[in-house]
C-alpha cells in the first residue's frame, strides 16, 4: 500500500480531536508527514506545524510542490534561527530547540490565534527535539503538549522516527496518545 493510502486509511478511522502518535520509518518519514498534514487540511482543519529538523522555507516549498494549501497553516521553526534565519510571514522562529518553554508558549498563542473549532497541531518531530534536549525534559514536554491538546480540543499528531526514541519515552507516548499509527 502506498504511504498516502496508508495515512488516509488510518486517519479516516480516527475520532475527532484525538491525539495520535505517528511512528514512522526513517525512509518514509518526510512523505508520511506531508500526507498527514494534507489530510488534516483537506478535512477543513486549521493548524500549527512545528518543525525541528528542516527549515520552514523548505517545508513550505515542498508543500507547494505537492499542492498542499498552506494558507490555513501556521509554522513554528525551531531550527533555522540557530543558523541565523529569522524572517517569514506565517512562521514563528524559535531561537533554540532546547527552549521548550518558549515553544510551549508560542504553541499556545498560535492556537489561540486560529479562529476555528477544528484545529490541529503536528510536531515534527519528537526524535529531532531529543537531539537538543534531555530525555526527561522531552518526557515532561510531551505530557504538557498532550494535556494541552486535550484540554483545548485540538487534534494532535506527534511524529517519531522508528527506533530513534528511547524506549521509556516511547512507552509513555503510546500510553498517553489515543492511537498509534505505524507507517
Amino acid at each position: 500500500m502506498k504511504i498516502k493510502d496508508k495515512i488516509e486509511k488510518e486517519f479516516k478511522t480516527l475520532d475527532d480531536k484525538s491525539v495520535v502518535l505517528l511512528d514512522l520509518n526513517a525512509e518514509n518519514y518526510f512523505e508520511a508527514v506531508m500526507h498527514a498534514v494534507d489530510f488534516m487540511l483537506k478535512k477543513g482543519r486549521k493548524g500549527v506545524f512545528i518543525t525541528v529538523s528542516r527549515p520552514y522555507k523548505y517545508i513550505l516549498r515542498e508543500m507547494q510542490k505537492r499542492n498542499i494549501a498552506t494558507e490555513n497553516l501556521l509554522f513554528i521553526d525551531c531550527t533555522s534561527a540557530m543558523a541565523g534565519e529569522h524572517d517569514g510571514a506565517s512562521c514563528t522562529y524559535i531561537e533554540n530547540p532546547a527552549a521548550l518553554e518558549e515553544i510551549g508558549m508560542q504553541i499556545g498563542s498560535l492556537l489561540d490565534a486560529i479562529k476555528s473549532e477544528e484545529k490541529f497541531l503536528i510536531v515534527d518531530s519528537i526524535s529531532a527535539l531529543l537531539i537538543y534536549n534531555t530525555a526527561p525534559s522531552i518526557k515532561e514536554f510531551s505530557m504538557f503538549l498532550i494535556n494541552k491538546m486535550r484540554l483545548e480540543g485540538v487534534t494532535g499528531i506527534l511524529v517519531t522516527i522508528e527506533k530513534d526514541v528511547p524506549e521509556d519515552i516511547k512507552r509513555i507516548l503510546i500510553a498517553m496518545c489515543d492511537e498509534v499509527i505505524y507507517v
Binding site: 526513517a26 528542516r54 518553554e101 508558549m105
Partner: protein, 787 residues
C-alpha cells in the same frame, strides 16, 4: 546535496542524519564524506545541518574510520561566529562520546569547558549538556575542572565560582621550608579542606578563628607566602597571591598594608592568570583595609575591569561587589564603571556588574540612581536570559533605594511584572523573588495585579518558579488585604498539595506569615491542613508546617488546643532537628496565646525539659528558652531538675544554648531552691566573659535578677561582673548591664558604691542613646548611693 538551493542542501543533510544505519553499506563512505564536506558550505543553514548530522551518523562515521576527520570538523565549527553552529557542534561532539579518537579527547573536553563560558547562553547550555555526555572520556586531570564548570553553569546567576583554597595552598606548601612553618601550612591545608574555604568570607566564619593561638601561628607564615608572590614560576605567583587574599583575615593589622602592596603589584603581572588572582585577592582584602588603602585597592580593581583579558575582567568585576563603604569621591568612579560594565560584550561581566549594582544598592550616590534604574530598564529586554534574570534580582535588591515618585516606581514594577512572564525559567523565578522583596514599595493601585500575577504563577509548570511564588506570597502578607485574602489563602492551601516538597514547604511558611489576613472562617481549615503537613514524608515540609502552627497561635480558633498540642508533642520526637526545634518554639507561642490546656500543662513542660539533652544545639536552645515561658507549668516536683538542667546549659558549647539558658534562669530566680542559689549565681556570673555578645547580654539581664538570691559572699563578684559588662564593646550589653545595676541598690557593697556610681554616670553620656536613657533611669533608682 549538490543542489543550488541552501534549504534543499540543508534538508538533504538532515534526511541523511535521520536515516542513520539504514544507509546501505555501499553508500556509507560517500554519505559521510558528503556530510563532512557540507560543514564547509558557505551557507550557515547547511553548516548547521551538517554539524547535527555528524552526531546522528556517529556509528557509521566510526565504522568507516572517519572519526578523526569528523571530530576535527566539529572542533572547527565550534569556533564559528554563528552561535547556532557552535551550539550544534557542541551537541554533536557530546554525541560522539567514546568514539572520539583518544588523541583528541583532552582537546575536545577543553573546548567544551571553554564553550561553557561562551558569550551566548544557548551555547553555554549545549556545552554543559555535552560535557555531561562526555563524562566517561574526561581525562583524570581535567575531571575537577569539568565538575566545577558544570556547577558554575548550573548556578551562573548566583555569582562567581572560585576554586577551593586548599588547591592553591597545596600548590605552594612545598615551597615553605621552615620546619615550624611547614607544620602550620599542613594544618592550614587540612582545615581549609574540612571547611571548604573559597574566599576570605568563608575563612572568617571558620571555627579555627575561635582559637587565638592558631590565628597567631597562621599570622606567622603570611610573610613567607607574601615572598612567593615574586616567584619566577607564574603558577606559584598565582597561587600565593590567591592564598594571601583568602588568608587576609589572619594578617595582623600592622601588616595589612605590606600584603596589599604585594597584591597590588601582582595586579600588573604580565601573566593574566596572576592578574586574575590579584583581582580576587584584592576583593578579599578590601573587607579588612583602612580607608586610604581601600581607595588604592578600588582604583586597581577598576583598572583591572578594563583588562583586555576576559579571565581578568570577570574576577575584577566580581571583586567590586565586595565593597562595603565607598570613601568620598570614589562613589562616582565605581558606579560609572559598573554602569559601563553593564554594556560589556561578555555576558558574565555584564551579569556580574548588574548583580553588583544590587549588592551595593545602599551606597549608590543619589545622582547615579536614576541613570542606574534607566540602565536596568534598558537591560530588562536584553536577549540573554541571564542578563534579564540579573536585572530582576538587582531591581528587587534596590527595594529601599527606589525613587519616591510613584510614576517611576510603577514603571519599575511593570518591568518586573513583565519579567515574571519571561520564557526564561531563571528570569521568571528572579522576577517573582523581586516582587516579594518590593512588597510595600509596590504602589497601591498595582498591588492587586501583583498578587493576582503571583497567584497565577503558583501554578507555573516549573517547581522552581512555584517555590519562589509561594515565598513571595508570604513576603507580601503585609499588603494582602481585603477580598483578595480569601483567594490567596485558598491558592496557598492548594499549593500545600504540590508534588514538590520544595514548594509545599514555602507554602506552609507563607500561610504562617499571613496571620491576621487569613479570613476568620478559613482559619480552622488552615490549621488543620498545617497539622496534616506535620506528617509529611519530607522533613522540610514538616518543619515549615510546625513553625507555621506556632506563628498562627494568636489567630487559632478556640477548641483546637488539644489537637494542636497533641501534634506539637509528637513533633518533638521527630528525627529532624528543625521539626523538633519548631515544635518547641510553637509550644512557647501557644503558651503566649494562652492555648495550653490545663490538663496537659505538666506533661508539656516535662517534654520540653527532656529536650535539654537533645543532640542538637538549636533544639536545646529552644528548649531552654521555652521552658522560661512555661514557668507556671513546671511543677514543684520538677523545679529542681529544671534549674539544674539550666545551670548545666550555661556551660553548653553552643552559644545558642548558653544565651537562652541564662535568660530563663533570670526568669526562674524566685523559684530557685535554697540549696541551689550558689550554683545558679556562679553559673550566671561566669558568662560575663563569654565570647558572644548575645550571651553576655542575657547574662547581664539575668545577673540583675540575682539580687534576691545572691549569697552574701558573692555580692561583690556580682557587682564587679556587671561593672565589667558596662564597659562592653556592644551597646546592647552595656544597656542591659546598666539597667541591672539600677535594680541592685540593696545589694551593692559599700566599697563598690563609688565605682557603680561612676560607671552609671559615665554611661549617661554613652555614644548610644538607648544606653544613655537607661543610665539616667538607673541613676534615679540608685540616688541613695550616687554621690
Amino acid at each position: 546535496m549538490d543542489d543550488s538551493d541552501k534549504y534543499t542542501r540543508a534538508s538533504a543533510t538532515r534526511s541523511l542524519g535521520e536515516l542513520k544505519t539504514k544507509i546501505p553499506f555501499g553508500m556509507r563512505r560517500k554519505v559521510v564524506k558528503k556530510v563532512i564536506n557540507a560543514s564547509k558550505d558557505n551557507k550557515d543553514i547547511v553548516k548547521h545541518a551538517s554539524a547535527i548530522c555528524i552526531g546522528q551518523l556517529r556509528l557509521i562515521i566510526f565504522s568507516e574510520g572517519m572519526m578523526y576527520k569528523a571530530t576535527e570538523r566539529l572542533m572547527k565549527l565550534s569556533y564559528d561566529k554563528e552561535w547556532g553552529i557552535r551550539g550544534a557542534s557542541a551537541i554533536s561532539l557530546g554525541e560522539l562520546k567514546e568514539n572520539i579518537p583518544v588523541s583528541m579527547r583532552a582537546k575536545v573536553v577543553k573546548r567544551m569547558i571553554s564553550l561553557t563560558g561562551d558569550i551566548d547562553q544557548n551555547v553555554r547550555g549545549f556545552a554543559a549538556f555535552a560535557l555531561g555526555n562526555l563524562k566517561n572520556i574526561v581525562p583524570g586531570h581535567m575531571a575537577r575542572d569539568v565538575v566545577k564548570q558544570l556547577l558554575m553553569v548550573s548556578e551562573e546567576v548566583e555569582g562567581y565560582s572560585r576554586r577551593y583554597a586548599s588547591e592553591a595552598i597545596s600548590e605552594i606548601k612545598n615551597l615553605i621550608h621552615d620546619e615550624r612553618q611547614k607544620k602550620i601550612i599542613n594544618k592550614l591545608l587540612n582545615i581549609s579542606e574540612e571547611e571548604n574555604w573559597t574566599d576570605s568570607i568563608s575563612v572568617s566564619k571558620s571555627q579555627v578563628l575561635q582559637e587565638g593561638a592558631l590565628k597567631e601561628e597562621i599570622g606567622e607564615i603570611i610573610g613567607s607566602i607574601a615572598s612567593l608572590t615574586k616567584n619566577e614560576n607564574k603558577e606559584i605567583r598565582k597561587s600565593s597571591v590567591e592564598v594571601l587574599g583568602i588568608l587576609s583575615v589572619f594578617i595582623p593589622v600592622q601588616k595589612i598594608s605590606d600584603a596589599a602592596d604585594k597584591i597590588l603589584v601582582s595586579g600588573n603581572d604580565p601573566d593574566e592568570a596572576v592578574r586574575a588572582s590579584a583581582a580576587l585577592a584584592l576583593g578579599d582584602l578590601i573587607l579588612r583595609c583602612p580607608e586610604n588603602l581601600q581607595i588604592e585597592i578600588i582604583r586597581k580593581l577598576l583598572s583591572l575591569t578594563e583588562d583586555s583579558a576576559l579571565v581578568v575582567r570577570r574576577p575584577a568585576t566580581y571583586a567590586l561587589g565586595n565593597i562595603r563603604e565607598l570613601p568620598g569621591e570614589m562613589g562616582d568612579c565605581v558606579f560609572n564603571r559598573l554602569i559601563k560594565l553593564c554594556d560589556d560584550e561578555d555576558w558574565y561581566v555584564k551579569s556580574l556588574s548588574i548583580l553588583n549594582i544590587g549588592k551595593l544598592g545602599a551606597i549608590i550616590p543619589e545622582n547615579k540612581l536614576q541613570i542606574i534604574i534607566d540602565k536596568l530598564i534598558f537591560l530588562s529586554v536584553n536577549h540573554d536570559k541571564i542578563v534579564r534574570g540579573s536585572v530582576a534580582q538587582a531591581l528587587g535588591s534596590l527595594k529601599d533605594m527606589l525613587p519616591k515618585d510613584a510614576g517611576e516606581r510603577r514603571k519599575i514594577i511593570k518591568i518586573v511584572m513583565g519579567l515574571s512572564e519571561d520564557v526564561g525559567l531563571g528570569v521568571r523565578a528572579s522576577a517573582v523573588w523581586a516582587l516579594g522583596e518590593l512588597k510595600d514599595k509596590i504602589p497601591y493601585e498595582m498591588r492587586r495585579n501583583v498578587i493576582y500575577r503571583l497567584l497565577e504563577l503558583s501554578s507555573d509548570s516549573n517547581w522552581y518558579v512555584r517555590m519562589h511564588t509561594a515565598k513571595s506570597l508570604g513576603k507580601l502578607s503585609i499588603i494582602i488585604k481585603g477580598d483578595v485574602e480569601v483567594e490567596v489563602v485558598e491558592k496557598l492551601l492548594g499549593v500545600t498539595l504540590d508534588p514538590e516538597s520544595s514548594v509545599r514547604s514555602p507554602a506552609a511558611w507563607a500561610i504562617g506569615e499571613l496571620r491576621m489576613s487569613i479570613p476568620k472562617d478559613t482559619r480552622k481549615k488552615v490549621i488543620e491542613r498545617l497539622l496534616e503537613m506535620g506528617d509529611d514524608e519530607e522533613w522540610i515540609v514538616r518543619g515549615s508546617a510546625v513553625w507555621a502552627v506556632g506563628k498562627l497561635s494568636k489567630v487559632t480558633p478556640g477548641g483546637m488546643e488539644n489537637k494542636i498540642i497533641e501534634h506539637l508533642m509528637k513533633s518533638l520526637d521527630d528525627k529532624e532537628w528543625n521539626v523538633r526545634g519548631g515544635g518547641i518554639w510553637s509550644i512557647g507561642r501557644l503558651k503566649d496565646a494562652g492555648m495550653i490546656p490545663e490538663l496537659v500543662e505538666e506533661k508539656v513542660a516535662g517534654k520540653v525539659f527532656a529536650a535539654f539533652s537533645d543532640e542538637d544545639g538549636y533544639v536545646r536552645g529552644y528548649a531552654a528558652g521555652t521552658i522560661g515561658k512555661l514557668k507556671t507549668e513546671v511543677s514543684d516536683g520538677m523545679i529542681k531538675d529544671v534549674i539544674k538542667g539550666l545551670v548545666e546549659l550555661t556551660d553548653d558549647s553552643d552559644w545558642n544554648v548558653r544565651g537562652p539558658a541564662a535568660l530563663t534562669l533570670g526568669k526562674f530566680i524566685d523559684r530557685v531552691p535554697e540549696d541551689m542559689k550558689g550554683a545558679v549565681s556562679k553559673g550566671l556570673l561566669k558568662l560575663t566573659g563569654d565570647v558572644e555578645w548575645a550571651v553576655r547580654h542575657s547574662a547581664a539581664y539575668a545577673q540583675g535578677q540575682l539580687r534576691t538570691i545572691i549569697p552574701k559572699d558573692m555580692k561583690e563578684n556580682l557587682v564587679n561582673s556587671l561593672l565589667k559588662l558596662t564597659g562592653d564593646c556592644d551597646w546592647v550589653v552595656r544597656d542591659a548591664a546598666v539597667r541591672a545595676l539600677g535594680g541592685l541598690v540593696a545589694v551593692i557593697p559599700k566599697n563598690k558604691k563609688e565605682a557603680v556610681s561612676d560607671a552609671v554616670k559615665k554611661l549617661s553620656k554613652d555614644s548610644n542613646r538607648t544606653v544613655r536613657d537607661s543610665a539616667k533611669r538607673s541613676l534615679k533608682r540608685l540616688k541613695s548611693i550616687v554621690s
